[in-house]
């Protein structure tokens, strides 16, 4: 089913999403990938504040290519989410509501999604030029020294994603294999 939703989104929308739904997101996404997650993890261990509000928000696992003049961002597709599996359950327990990436997640992440009523979306991997067209602004808000891995606040308009793991724990990658595998 095609949906057009605002991010951050309310609980009702979150819980209504189902694995396989095609969703166009409009609103705010925060970027963070490997190095930024490591720093957030260390900040939490040290009892420090995180550089962005987690409650209700969404993280996009993405490190863009540099923007050409006059453009908000360069190529901007998702990176492999499983590298953030080590950090994601804690962030979800702290109020993060959703993640946008690509590829499989661990069982620990799936359980944290169910426990907290969250969602894991995939954007199409390797379509960074196309996806950049749905990003209207980008601002580095933390860890600038990390370059492409800095935390950015993005404004997105009709950003296309697909629900891979919904709040019940249904997983589109598993459903797809069941439906399309012709292996004995």
């Amino acid at each position: 089913m095609d949906r057009h939703l605002k991010v951050p989104m309310g609980e009702q929308d979150l819980l209504s999403l189902q694995a396989g739904d095609y969703v166009y997101l409009t609103g705010t996404l925060y970027t963070a990938r490997d190095a930024a997650h490591k720093r957030m993890y260390e900040a939490l261990r040290a009892g420090e504040e995180l550089p962005m509000p987690l409650e209700g928000n969404f993280i996009y696992y993405m490190g863009p290519s540099p923007a050409r003049e006059g453009r908000p961002i360069g190529s901007a597709g998702p990176t492999t989410a499983s590298r953030m599996d080590k950090y994601a359950p804690e962030l979800l327990d702290l109020g993060l509501k959703g993640m946008v990436g690509k590829g499989r997640r661990s069982e620990e992440v799936r359980q944290a999604i169910i426990r907290n009523g969250c969602v894991y979306f995939a954007a199409v991997g390797g379509a960074g030029a196309l996806l950049s067209k749905s990003i209207t602004s980008s601002k580095v808000i933390a860890y600038e020294d990390l370059g492409t891995e800095a935390i950015r606040e993005l404004t997105v308009e009709e950003f296309p994603v697909i629900v891979v793991i919904d709040s019940k724990g249904n997983n589109l990658y598993d459903i797809a294999l069941e439906q399309y595998s012709k292996e004995e």
Partner: protein
């Protein structure tokens, strides 16, 4: 004897880094078009359509096809009659990468040490493979390699008794494990034989062979065909969202090996299987 200025190498490398990251070769474009026509899953078809659209936008608006513009893998075939002038060839290649990635607005994805992980800021160093060949030309192939798929690559040191079935199972295992993480539809580069490092290098090189060109040995071209069909029956599909297009090609390269061994390397590449070639 032919003299080549190393500055010409720098210029070529810089231009090729930019070219490879914005335009796929014709064989890759044709393979994606064909996949879109033949894909059975509606969502899979939609994903393939988006990939096609992505390529158009990349070319027209000059935005890299993928934000992971890769670590620059460079094959240099040097004719033995060639003499280089103007400084170190190796430095000239790294300088070309530095310029290409900086001037071309490409992402800098290289860290100076695998554990301290400080970004070098200019995507150097490149990974360079030299080969000395007959003649008086220098052929440079640039293959920027993204790590979503690189991370899903594998090497298997099989036993001779494992035979062809063992080889096929190893390749299918690597592809199944890669699944949605490697941005399917993938191109599967396979190196069989040689030593540990030779097999890996063959697999990497196999990815630079056009996807519409079969292995020259009919035994291995039949194996490529069989594996492609079996991979596409896995159901993984475009983006891992299900369907009949999981791989666009399986390219196998082989080399003689030791009586005790059967190395098999599987280098997986996403659908952004980039390369540019130039002869100086």
């Amino acid at each position: 004897m032919k003299t080549i200025q190393t500055s010409a190498v720098t210029d070529a490398v810089a231009a090729m880094c930019i070219e490879a990251n914005h335009f796929l070769t014709d064989d890759m474009k044709a393979a994606l078009n064909h996949a879109e026509e033949s894909e059975i899953a509606p969502l899979g078809k939609q994903v393939l359509g988006q990939l096609k659209q992505n390529l158009e936008i990349a070319g027209e608006d000059h935005i890299p096809i993928c934000q992971d513009t890769g670590m620059a893998v460079i094959f240099v075939e040097i004719g033995q009659e060639v003499h280089f002038e103007g400084g170190s060839l190796e430095d000239a290649i790294h300088e070309g990468v530095r310029r290409g990635y900086t001037e071309g607005f490409l992402r800098k994805s290289v860290v100076r040490d695998p554990l301290d992980r400080v970004n070098t800021g200019d995507n150097t160093p490149a990974v360079i493979h030299y080969q000395i060949v007959p003649g008086d030309e220098v052929k440079i192939t640039i293959a920027p390699k993204g790590f979503g798929s690189e991370n899903m690559s594998r090497i298997f040191m099989l036993k001779p008794a494992d035979g062809a079935e063992g080889v096929k199972n190893a390749i299918l295992t690597a592809v199944r494990d890669a699944g949605p993480n490697a941005c399917p539809p993938m191109v599967v580069g396979v190196g069989i034989g040689g030593t540990f490092e030779k097999a890996a290098l063959l697999a990497k090189k196999a990815l630079t062979r056009p996807v519409d060109q079969k292995a020259s040995d009919p035994y291995y071209s039949a194996m490529e065909e069989e594996l492609l069909e079996r991979i596409n029956r896995s159901g993984i599909g475009p983006g891992g969202l299900g369907g009949s297009t999981t791989a666009l090609a399986v390219n196998i390269e082989t080399y003689p090996t030791h009586i005790a061994g059967l190395p098999v390397a599987v280098n997986i590449c996403c659908h952004v299987n980039r390369h540019a070639v130039r002869v100086l």
